[in-house]
Symmetry: C2
Subunit: 162 residues, 2 copies
């Protein structure tokens, strides 16, 4: 049995006690952009209930065109007003460089990815530039309430980056 | 007080009973790609514990270059082997078209986004083409265990798309 099959059995148990449906627009009017890291259970970290907030996640919790697309849809069509950006300690993105990662893919496949891998070497600095990417973008209308944090995987605490 | 401030108070309570840190590589060797929809608490839906799986999320749960970037990092650097793709019923992406959304942004800002909004009108068909995008990409090495689902927001159940 695959891990996926095992997780589907968990889902059957989840559905047994499910009470839905909830409304489509996020109740707390917040969008979160966080790293995909397995240790970040964003709903628990922020005390979110189902239906409270959009949760956008990727390798690093970085801001590329796809996060701008998601944030534009979140704010323009579904009414969110605040943005919480979350990087974290012990992040995989601190362990490699774009050049080395893309060279390894090129060596194996014969093709160099046309995208940036978005590795970084300074957590706080990358939170700041990620917030700056959102603020500089013309398609995200509300950027007065964008705040950036580093989640500490040793303590469970969010530390704000000013 | 902003909603963000309120959620930070939740985080302080979360940190009080936090036991970490866990290892960086996902214990169950799974990556999930799901919609950002507020009603999808992915950890609960799949019965995931902290540390189990990478969770990648965006508007629609679609596959663009940024999801390929995240999946490539997930598999090549952090050892995941299976991929679970999740769209859901009552999705916001069913309620607009790329053309109308991008025209509304152009009318307001004077600039038309260079990216696709990735709206769709058929859930099952978009799950299938999202799985196909992963399988067709040269940068994601393991594509033998990619499965796609539609989460039913009324029942809590994942229904597989074949």
């Amino acid at each position: 049995m695959s891990v996926t099959d095992d997780l589907l059995e968990n889902n059957a148990r989840y559905a047994e006690s499910f009470s839905g449906p909830l409304p489509l627009p996020p109740a707390r009017k917040v969008a979160v952009v966080a790293c995909m890291d397995a240790r970040l259970d964003v709903y628990r970290i922020l005390g979110l209930a189902e239906g409270d907030a959009h949760v956008i996640r990727n390798a690093g919790g970085v801001v590329t065109d796809d996060e701008i697309r998601s944030l534009a849809i979140s704010q323009r069509l579904l009414g969110t007003e605040e943005i919480i950006l979350i990087h974290h300690t012990d992040c995989g993105m601190l362990t490699f460089t774009d050049d080395a990662f893309k060279a390894s893919i090129r060596d194996e496949t014969g093709i160099k990815p046309q995208w940036a891998a978005e590795a970084f070497d300074d957590l706080d600095a990358d939170v700041r530039q990620s917030v700056a990417r959102i603020r500089a973008n013309p398609f995200v209308p509300r950027t007065d309430a964008v705040r950036g944090f580093v989640f500490d995987v040793a303590t469970g605490r969010l530390n704000e980056v000013k």
